[in-house]
């Protein structure tokens, strides 16, 4: 394998692994802060137990999330040095702002939160909980802005043989970026919601600390329903916006080969990349795709055949990931609606309680699939339309990358196993019994 492929594999693995831990951080930080807010408002120590228990799981998860983030920032230099040279003017500054503005805040106040229970006033402690939640989500804002610029580069000019920043606010406020941020954050909040629902259901079914887990269940049910419903809209808007910014990705997501108005949507499709058509198209909704992409049956949607072969993303993984993600999104709406309706007496829905712990992995899967659509769908470009992935790689030896790739695999597999083992262990253990 060449340096490009090895480096892509390495970055993909490091990013996917990192993103196993990020969404729970983003969502659970708010849930912990909400519980602690209730504690400070009502003075009811039960809510402090909630904050501490979910906070403990938050910390175990955060431990791996935080250490695996650094390797991503540094890999732009180690493996993608031509990319860094060409677009660092725009891209590098967003990463630097993230560290300065958000990451310091998050890391510093997470420590204050954990070590400060007996050292700070309840109010000061609550402030640190909110600072962690806000800062971690603000981190996501900057990182996703940087990623969105790779999807839809704006606000730059080519000068001195590289992309130089021209309009900072165009980069910050472009719709592609705001949609990506909203869509990604909602996906993270759904994951955190189902995590709390699943763990709570597991204990409720065993009649373990029922008062405690009924409360977590109730809050998480409302939270998860809100974001599951919102996500349908945000996901739809993100996909239809691609018609303007990344038409090749949209065509791959739908496996659409021919450019046409009133493009149909087929529920059953199997792409045939070799022959530039689909093996199977069944259960079609006439003009369905045109309506979804442009809110009108007359909307023309560009097909893959209109792109030269070397400009097309791999169709099958993008198409399948997108389908699976959308299917999961609708499942999440149904499940969270069910949990919402039963939020006051979850014990009366034993089927739901039995099901929910098994649902926990599904939003993880959906989040990963979303990134596969986003990143594989952008290929062959590293910056859409501006720079090809194959031109972005460092002048390094394949053997170097092969060794580091193997090391990443080993270290990450071990870390992942240990961290999920600990998450399991402490999630099943439940909170310490309430002080009498």
């Amino acid at each position: 394998m060449d340096v490009v492929m090895l480096s892509r594999l390495q970055f993909a693995m490091a990013a996917c692994f990192h993103y196993l831990f990020v969404p729970l951080t983003l969502g659970l930080s708010f849930l912990v802060a909400l519980f602690e807010t209730k504690f400070v408002r009502t003075g009811d120590p039960e809510y402090r137990r909630q904050a501490k228990f979910w906070g403990k799981l938050f910390l175990i998860n955060f431990a791996v999330g935080v250490v695996t983030g650094i390797t991503l920032e540094f890999q732009f230099g180690t493996n993608w040095s031509r990319y860094s040279t060409q677009v660092g003017d725009v891209f590098g500054s967003l990463l630097a702002i993230e560290a300065t503005v958000s990451f310091f805040l998050e890391s510093t106040f997470l420590a204050v939160w954990f070590f400060g229970w007996n050292k700070l006033s309840p109010r000061a402690h609550l402030v640190s909980a909110w600072l962690v939640a806000i800062a971690s989500n603000l981190s996501a804002f900057w990182i996703l802005t940087a990623n969105a610029w790779m999807q839809s580069p704006v606000g730059y000019a080519i000068r001195n043989g590289r992309a130089e920043l021209d309009d900072f606010f165009a980069v910050l406020l472009q719709p592609a970026s705001l949609l990506e941020i909203g869509h990604t954050l909602a996906g993270a909040y759904i994951l955190a919601g189902f995590f709390v629902l699943g763990v709570s259901a597991w204990h409720l079914r065993r009649k373990n600390q029922e008062a405690f887990f009924s409360r977590s269940f109730r809050l998480a049910a409302v939270w998860t329903l809100i974001f599951s419903v919102l996500e349908i809209g945000l996901g739809h808007m993100s996909a239809s916006h691609l018609r303007a910014t990344q038409p090749a990705k949209l065509a791959a997501m739908e496996s659409l080969w021919e450019t046409r108005a009133s493009a149909p949507m087929h529920l059953l499709v199997w792409p045939d990349e070799e022959n530039e058509k689909n093996h199977l198209e069944a259960l079609s909704i006439p003009a369905g795709l045109s309506v979804l992409a442009g809110f009108s049956p007359d909307t023309e949607v560009k097909g893959l055949r209109d792109f030269p072969r070397q400009d097309r993303p791999p169709v099958l993984p993008v198409f399948l990931s997108f389908r699976a993600m959308v299917g999961l999104a609708f499942l999440f709406v149904l499940l969270s609606l069910w949990a919402f309706l039963r939020r006051r007496q979850p014990d009366r829905a034993p089927g739901l309680l039995r099901l929910l712990p098994w649902i926990i992995p599904l939003p993880y899967l959906a989040n990963q699939l979303g990134w596969i659509v986003t990143e594989v769908g952008r290929q062959p470009w590293i910056v859409y339309g501006l720079m090809r992935t194959e031109d972005a790689v460092s002048p390094i030896e394949p053997s170097q990358v092969a060794i580091s790739l193997a090391a990443f695999f080993l270290v990450y597999a071990l870390l992942g196993a240990v961290d999920f083992f600990l998450l399991f262990k402490f999630a099943r253990k439940g909170p310490p019994p309430a002080a009498a």
């Binding site: 250490v67 650094i70 230099g77 660092g88 590098g92 106040f109 130089e164 580091s404 090391a407 600990l422």
Partner: protein, 341 residues
Amino acid sequence: MLETIWFAIWGLAWAVYFALDGFDLGLGSLFPFLARSEGDKRVIVNAMGPFWDGNEVWLITAGGVTFAAFPRAYAVMFSALYTPLLLLLFALILRGVAFEFRAKVDSPRWRRIWDGCLVIGSLLPAVLLGVAFANIFAGIPIDAAGRFQGDLLSLLHPYALLGGALFLAMFALHGANWLATRTQGGLRDRADRAAKILWPAVAILAVGFLLYTHFATPLWRNLFQRPWLLVLPLLAVAGLAATRIFAARGAPWRAWFSSAALILGAALFGVAGLYPDLLPSSIDPAASLTAFNSSSSPLTLQIMLGVVLCFLPVVIGYQSWVYHRFRDVLDEKSLDPETSY
């Protein structure tokens, strides 16, 4: 002008990282020598507990500043130092999770694994950072296309190894000083003794490194062109002397601030001596990456300067508050497992 300001910020970010995370890395390296019991180990880990992660963000910021202000230098530096840099990252990963994991399962064997990760994950970065910066001071074989022309062994020349030894020794001294501020009894005595033993080693290595720097690098010649910059090596020497004096007087905080001054002075001496080079080439002076030929556009530098001027003082403010708030002396009985590692 903007480029020069950014060069200074770049150097400062690295220097602050060394001065802050330096004590964590040093203390982690000394861990097996200082801890006699599980209680000792918990005290040492918790002495760094509230700080190490916030300290490590200075590394991410230093990397981010390099990327944002000098993208070409970032690209060439990080790809040329590919293997040492990834080793550094793996080591830091192991150190980070060791803090969180070691007390999570009540088994001596489990804790031994993560204690080992903590030690390796502290020692290796200390040495690697020293080797990397000595290499940068001396220049790296890069050609005009930014392609690294050496191999891993060519980075391990005697000057680089001396740099690695110096960093490890300085960090270990700094770590012993830190432990002295937050402990009492036997552990405090051992921290004091470690600092006392380490001090002559640091002094010899520092003097040796400063002398060797004259032969291996153009740093001193550059400094003498702007003699006022000589305050930086003087700061390092003064910090070195002061840390011994304050430790002998039983003033651990002053001793710690002095070893911080030593590290800041030493790092800034190197950076100032490099100016305007960020990464000198040892084979072709024209291929050297400087603050001027590798910088971002003026607009990016201006925006980033605004961000840094607004936010870094705030960061320094709240991090100082945390240091102040969590400066209490620890003993093993006062460590509540719910609010400590």
